[in-house]
Point group: C2
Chain length 146, copies 2
């Protein structure tokens, strides 16, 4: 069951400049940064609030590490902006299977590694009224790599 807005993924050309915009304009601070070579992104997570399911909602700022990554290609086509939205669940495997069973294309056969040790998958935007939609199960807190 999806129980929170986990994050909004925002593609940008210059991660440092975009982090600085969110800090200077709104006071949002960086909670975590990492490079995900598989996804081809360098990213910063800004924690905005905690949520009633025990999780939190973040902005995820994404800079491509290579032009041929999914985010790099998206950015070349669309320019900076909202790239995807993500819902949090306690069981991404079960939710992905249930959603696949409803005829929505799930992009990975098995969930992959996302931010902060989470497990993630994506749903095809053409099956989701134009919205690239991610499902996320956070890492257990003791193993999260902040």
């Amino acid at each position: 069951m999806l129980t929170r807005i986990d994050h909004i993924g925002i593609a940008c050309h210059d991660l440092d400049a975009t982090v600085e915009f969110y800090r200077a304009t709104y006071g949002f601070e960086v909670f975590h940064t990492e490079i995900n070579e598989e996804q081809g992104v360098r990213e910063a997570m800004l924690k905005i609030n905690e949520t009633s399911d025990g999780g939190a909602s973040y902005l995820q700022l994404l800079e491509p590490t290579r032009e041929d990554s999914a985010v790099g290609k998206w950015l070349a086509k669309n320019g900076e902006g909202v790239h995807h939205i993500a819902f949090g669940t306690a069981d991404v495997d079960a939710d992905a299977d249930a959603i696949r069973g409803k005829g929505v294309r799930v992009l990975y056969d098995e969930p992959r590694r996302g931010s902060m040790g989470s497990r993630i998958t994506f749903l095809h935007p053409k099956d989701c009224h134009g919205v690239l939609t991610e499902l996320v199960t956070s890492a257990p807190q003791e193993s999260a790599d902040h």
Copy 2:
């Protein structure tokens, strides 16, 4: 101070079909619907979670009521997808003034009426790394028109 992700605004061609997609796929239910003639939208709010500031996070599904509305024009250009993101604050007037003072264009001179009796304003996406950004102060709960 912005204390939550208040909502993600998603533009769609057919509100009823999109509401049904979110219900059938994820189990999200409609919390509130309204028509905002000033904005030229018919909308449905789906409540996803409550937030640590005493508010909540929603998906806001938006169907234009006329082609020349902002959302209608956006949809004709971009197709269905994420139209804007919104941060919640206890004082949209003060935050809008402070952000204007930092050189970010605020689209309204004074906040206007948003969903469920809220007061809202928007920041120019070109000043926000491509993200149309809304600031929202919810109505006091006793006067919210659910």
